[in-house]
């Protein structure tokens, strides 16, 4: 089995995640508790096995590091993920159309799209085409936000 540099940290996070469920076990009905308890025990066993495997590989010096990303690249990805989160959080308040156009333009510029016409036209066209498909063909009302009453 391949082991990665960050495996112990991931295992720690998973153990904490399982612990959250353990803390909730008392709040469930006794009959509904058995199955998740078994799953949690198996989960902890697998965490233990992963850590043992990591330790053996670490001793042998065969931990896979993988392609290391530079700090700048990591930051670049984190910023994009953060902007994506802002887009998703504001989509309901500000509305699908303005937020999607804004996100589309940001994304294209951030990802270094060189064609200025594409940067402007593509987000607008995509947003409206998707809006038409979802509202008129799939009968899904997308969040109107600030445009409530206009659309």
């Amino acid at each position: 089995m391949k082991s990665r540099k960050w495996d112990p940290l991931i295992c720690l996070a998973l153990a904490a995640f399982l612990l959250i469920f353990v803390s909730q076990l008392g709040k469930t009905k006794p009959l509904a508790r058995v199955y998740p308890t078994v799953i949690i025990i198996c989960g902890y066993l697998m965490i233990g096995l992963t850590l043992i495997q990591w330790f053996i590989n670490w001793k042998k010096g065969s931990i896979t590091v993988g392609e290391a990303l530079s700090k700048n690249r990591t930051l670049y990805i984190i910023v994009y993920a953060a902007v994506m989160l802002v887009y998703l959080l504001l989509i309901e308040k500000i509305g699908y159309i303005p937020m999607t156009i804004a996100f589309g333009i940001f994304s294209l510029i951030y990802l270094k799209c060189k064609n200025k016409i594409v940067i402007i036209v593509l987000p607008i066209v995509t947003t409206f085409v998707m809006y038409l498909i979802f509202t008129h063909f799939l009968f899904v009302t997308l969040p109107p936000g600030l445009l409530r009453g206009i659309l």
Partner: protein, 500 residues
């Protein structure tokens, strides 16, 4: 027979034909774009299928699935980069033909063989799935436990080389599947007081996030637009002799593909390499292999597309999703209120036979759709990653919202995407998440019912013949990583011996 005719009538409506064609083209694009996959295509298109009638929805997803598997071969020929491991033999032979200025011929052969393999596998699906569904009639809660465990043991097969990590992901995902009302007393469990979690975690948004967002983040890892040189599609043509001389090769490869497809998680890559190897062994022009062999392309492509129909046989009859796209396909079926198994073929016969017949028509349409697409492939393959990433984020976000009109679902998609990226970067397989979320509830329900059936000694369930059969399958599946490793080593040894 009446069901098959009714299926034909349903499929051949203009709307359904259009939906299938749309699905095929979208699937081909997803398959052809380097870094994208059929799985991602199916995941992104599930929300679009939501508002459609179940028949149309399944036809759309069939188109995306089959188109995606076929599409992976186009960059293999034009770029020399196999879109998927299953296209590796095609890349080997196709690139040689492309270098000789015969890319059009390679694409034509690949399109025809894919269509043939897929069509034959859909016939197997049409006739074998109902037969297997009869077995499903004899399936009670004890057998359901073993079916669910068998499905989950696929986790190990899908996580070759990372079995412990696969199991770890599987157990954590099984725990996620327990969120919501418990199946025994209907009391909220692990909901943390959040009303949105009373119905459990949202399967499809999570799958969309898991299978699409990591690709977007991976695109961000490299700087700038990575344009590659794409060969022009030359004149596409086929010769009758290509097929008359290769009929045994085509049939053998297709049968290999169907057989491998039925085995959960064996995958198109194994089918493709097995068929390619068999074709070389029985060829009279062994020296052409590796230098643009027509036999090699026909074998590899017919086999990997034959896997599509084969993989749906256990899915429709027993509810075992053998691969990631099949798991998402199953998720879509649940959304439309369809439960795999015997009842699917009785209660929802009109839907399932429309799917079965439609699957065959999809594979016929792939020939025409693929042929047209290949003419324009050069322009599609150079779409900049800035545009691709932006489109995927928007599609995934809006698609996740559309399922329950809930922003909570969109946030689940986002979190799944981030977690999926971390998993991919650290060799944790993501497919087990899909399988565990799909099968978790079935497993828990079946266990509680079996406990009621055998209150004194649950092990009595192993005296039931079908339980024993499925137990044997579980054991085989746990041994599969070892068997598969041996097969691959053997194939690699034969290939290197052949090359030398």
């Amino acid at each position: 027979m009446a069901n098959i005719i009714a299926g034909f009538v349903n499929v051949l409506t203009p709307v359904n034909l259009l939906i299938m064609l749309g699905g095929i083209l979208a699937g081909i694009i997803f398959g052809a774009l380097p870094g994208f996959s059929a799985t991602m295509g199916v995941a992104v298109f599930v929300p679009f299928s939501y508002a459609l009638e179940p028949e149309a929805a399944l036809l759309l997803l069939s188109g995306v699935y089959c188109g995606g598997v076929y599409g992976g071969s186009i960059p293999a020929i034009l770029l020399g980069i196999p879109g998927t491991p299953a296209s590796a033999p095609t890349a080997l032979e196709g690139r040689s033909l492309t270098n000789r200025g015969e890319s059009g011929r390679a694409l034509a052969l690949c399109t025809a063989a894919s269509s043939f393999g897929g069509f034959m596998s859909s016939l197997a699906l049409l006739f074998l799935a109902p037969v297997l569904a009869i077995i499903a009639l004899r399936v009670g809660p004890p057998e359901q436990i073993m079916i669910a465990v068998f499905g989950l043991s696929v986790v190990c097969m899908l996580s070759e080389g990372n079995m412990v990590k696969g199991l770890l992901v599987g157990f954590v995902s099984l725990l996620l599947a327990t969120i919501g009302q418990d199946p025994q007393v209907g009391f909220p469990r692990f909901t943390f007081g959040n009303l949105n979690l009373y119905a459990g975690v949202s399967l499809v948004p999570i799958l969309i996030g898991l299978f699409s967002m990591p690709e977007v983040f991976k695109m961000l890892e490299t700087e700038g637009e990575s344009f590659v040189e794409v060969a022009s599609t030359g004149k596409m043509y086929l010769k009758v002799t290509d097929f008359t001389k290769n009929k045994v090769n085509l049939i053998r490869s297709t049968l290999i593909g169907i057989g491998v497809g039925i085995i959960p998680a064996a995958g198109p890559d194994i089918a493709s390499f097995l068929a390619y190897n068999e074709a070389r062994k029985s060829s009279q022009k062994k020296e052409e292999f590796g230098n643009g062999s027509i036999e090699g392309i026909l074998a590899s492509e017919s086999a990997n597309n034959a896997v599509t129909g084969g993989s749906l046989i256990p899915l429709l009859s027993l509810g075992i999703p053998g691969s990631a796209p099949a798991a998402i396909f199953l998720g879509a079926m649940y959304i439309h209120g369809l439960q795999p198994g015997a009842q699917l073929f009785t209660r929802n016969a009109h839907i399932v036979y429309t799917l079965l017949v439609g699957f065959a028509i999809v594979n016929v349409l792939i020939f025409f759709g693929g042929w047209i697409f290949c003419k324009f492939a050069k322009y599609v393959l150079v779409i900049p990653k800035s545009i691709l990433a932006t489109m995927i984020v928007i599609l995934a976000s809006v698609g996740s919202f559309a399922i329950n009109k809930s922003m909570f679902d969109v946030m689940q998609m986002y979190i799944a995407g981030i977690v999926g990226y971390i998993m991919v970067k650290n060799d944790y397989p993501v497919s087990p998440v899909a399988l565990a979320l799909l099968l978790g509830s079935m497993l828990e329900t079946a266990i509680s019912q079996t406990v009621v059936m055998y209150p004194d000694n649950i092990f009595i369930m192993f005296t039931r013949p079908y339980t024993l059969v499925f137990t044997a399958l579980v054991l085989i599946s746990f041994a599969w990583p070892l068997i598969s490793k041996k097969i691959k080593e053997k194939l690699a040894a034969k290939r290197s011996a052949g090359n030398s």
